[in-house]
Amino acid sequence: MSPPPTNSDNDPVLVRVENAVKHFPKRGGLFNRVIAKVHALNDVSFTIKKGQVLGVVGESGCGKSTLGKVVIRLHRPTSGKVIFDGTDISQMSNQQLRPIRQRMQMIFQDPNSSLNPRMTVETTIKEVIGLHDVVPESKMDETIDQLLKKVGLRIDDKMKYPHEFSGGQKQRIGIARALAVNPEFIIADEPVSALDVSIQAQVLNLMMDLKEELGLTMLFVSHDLKVIDHFCDSMLVMYLGNVVEEMPCEDIHAHAKHPYTRALLSCNPITDPDQRGELTVLEGEVPSPYDPPAGCPFVTRCAIKTKQCETENPPLLDRGNGHRVACWEVE
């Protein structure tokens, strides 16, 4: 795999992931040996510049959530580096990580399980603020009120417990908790996929506004190309733990090259009948992550595969304008 592209403009890089690999061992048999490995991430590299939003898209089980969790160090990568603002955090201990945790936060997928049912909104936020001493005790109440206002909740909501809120409101609380420590970098792990479509738009718009207002850098994980297109500056397409394409989010329909990205795009409902293309239906199943194919990960379902694809994994080659594709067959 080629080294990640050097940034042409002088925007400093906030997050750089280099050749990250994550395997989950499966144990069993006699003496609890490792009998198999899930190849969740396979040699993933990318960079996020300050103030940018990078989208990660892919189908279920492709490793996009694992990627988010490796970047925020909920998982320790098996190998490779995660460099946050010049520091390699990939092998740090929890103790060493604590000051960095204040600068990176996560917004979770399921609003119903992302809040402790036994804590009021106020306690939830207060705990995080108190841990990092972001504001003095005397200003705590004021800060919490401002945060709640910022995410569009009422101030008297803070004495309530999570079960008294709707899904959208809970997600707003989750966002408030993430923002409470004034982070620079936010990982959003499918933040709207569990919400109704109408609520999705509200929460997305809220996140957009906050991003503009606070100048956040984000890693935005989603399986919805439209959300990514709407929200992100550039995107990674993942398949079976591999990045197969990286491209700026400008007219992705016209630029997408990898057969998997094209298939994903064709599944997206388009309201204008004139723009509708042919629907590419992928045949077959995703190979088991315990035993990925030797060559290109997509080879089992690809329509344009050749002999080479079955034996050699194509590198992620730069095709200009920050567009990288991992495929032997596209130029």
Partner: protein, 396 residues
């Protein structure tokens, strides 16, 4: 205040409130607790329980003792004691020590007492050693006269003493003439005490070890699982008996300590298993991930995020363990390894059945002990069932 309101307003509390049977059970448990508190406050002492208050195996309120048996066991006994006191060197002192249950000698000079005793003796002379009314019914008035005469020897009871005496003999006496009612009530305290101490200890230890094992995984998990599988492979009663034996010659042998240790060593296992399983589930919840990404340490996460969310399991386990401990205590005491030198339902049941007395019609001791235990265990079973239902989201 707000917190209490929150607690009462939960769905679980409302469900429990709607379950009337559970409320009855709760009321019964409260009564038991009150009785235990009464005993603990000194209402019934160990000495009271061991005091002989009357003839052996006297039936309770439901059946009068036969007159000749009353004469045999009560009248004659008191008379003998008074006579012995009058013959002693320090007559005044000996007289003040004479007592049978609540009865003491009336405050008269020894000379007056001797006259009274002579009067009673004269009446007794007309009866043979062991009168039998079936053979000679005409003896009945004589016995009545004798009792009336002897009553003059006894100091009159105050209203309170009379009440206490009536309560004590409410359910009769055991084979040694001790009050069954008082012993039964005292045993409530023993049972509740052992139940509470065991349940609190077992639930705390089980929850702590289970949560730590589930959350940290790795070698901590291996060690905890190894310990509890090892402990649970030993038959429970055998371990308890062995532990009880180990204490036979120590200073703690007459206290409840051996029982606590024996129960504490085994009862945490079930809770530990359940809490470990729940922790394995909870640690993958996103709010735990959120706490981890916020930078909280493992102890904080365990105490604030994991354990509070297993509270319902702890509550149910607590209630189940309490019953189990009470039942085991009774079994152990029945076998002679449990409570020693103080009343317990197990000991009462054993005493009652010792010489085949139950077959001979002496049912009230075993009956009362069993009934007390039965009602308590039943009430707790109903309550823990109701708790389980209340916390089960699938149960409406």
């Amino acid at each position: 205040m707000n917190r209490i309101k929150q607690m009462i307003n939960t769905r679980e509390a409302k469900k429990l409130w709607r379950n009337k049977l559970a409320l009855v059970a709760l009321a019964i448990i409260m009564l038991y607790l009150l009785a235990a508190l009464f005993v603990m406050a000194g209402g019934i002492s160990r000495v009271t329980c061991d005091t002989v208050i009357g003839p052996n195996k006297m039936p309770g309120f439901y059946r009068q003792d036969t007159p000749e048996k009353r004469y045999e066991n009560s009248t004659k006994k008191f008379l003998t004691k008074v006579k012995r006191a009058l013959a002693a060197e320090d007559v005044e002192g000996a007289l003040s020590e004479v007592s049978l249950g609540p009865f003491t000698v009336v405050n008269k000079s020894p000379a007056e007492l001797e006259m009274l005793v002579a009067e009673v003796d004269a009446l007794a002379g007309e009866l043979n050693e062991s009168p039998n009314l079936d053979i000679d019914p005409s003896l009945l008035p004589k016995i009545a006269d004798l009792e009336a005469a002897e009553a003059q020897l006894k100091a009159p009871l105050t209203a309170w003493q009379q009440f206490v005496y009536d309560v004590s003999i409410l359910l009769g006496t055991d084979a040694q003439g001790r009050s069954i009612f008082l012993r039964g009530i005292y045993s409530i305290k023993i049972a509740i005490q052992i139940g509470l101490v065991t349940a609190i200890f077992a639930v705390s230890l089980g929850a702590f070890l289970g949560a730590a094992a589930g959350y940290f995984g790795g070698w901590v998990d291996h060690v905890v699982v190894w310990i509890y599988t090892t402990f649970s492979s030993i038959p429970n009663l055998v371990l308890l008996v062995v532990l009880a034996y180990a204490f036979t010659n120590s200073a703690a042998k007459d206290t409840l300590l051996p029982v606590y240790i024996a129960f504490g060593a085994t009862f945490w296992i079930g809770t530990c298993r359940v809490i470990r399983g729940e922790t394995l589930k909870l640690k993958e919840m996103e709010y735990v991930h959120a706490a981890q990404t916020a930078g909280f340490g493992p102890v904080h996460i365990l105490l604030r995020y994991i354990l509070p969310n297993t509270a319902h399991l702890m509550l149910i386990n607590f209630s189940l363990l309490l019953i189990a401990a009470i039942k085991s205590e009774v079994i152990l005491s029945y076998l002679g390894f449990g409570v020693k030198n103080q009343p317990s339902w197990g000991i009462m049941i054993r005493d009652a059945g010792n010489n085949g007395d139950v077959v001979g019609g002496f049912f009230w001791e075993i009956g009362f002990a069993t009934a007390l235990m039965f009602v308590l265990v039943l009430a707790f079973n109903i309550l823990s069932d109701a708790l389980q239902d209340a916390f089960d989201p699938k149960h409406v």
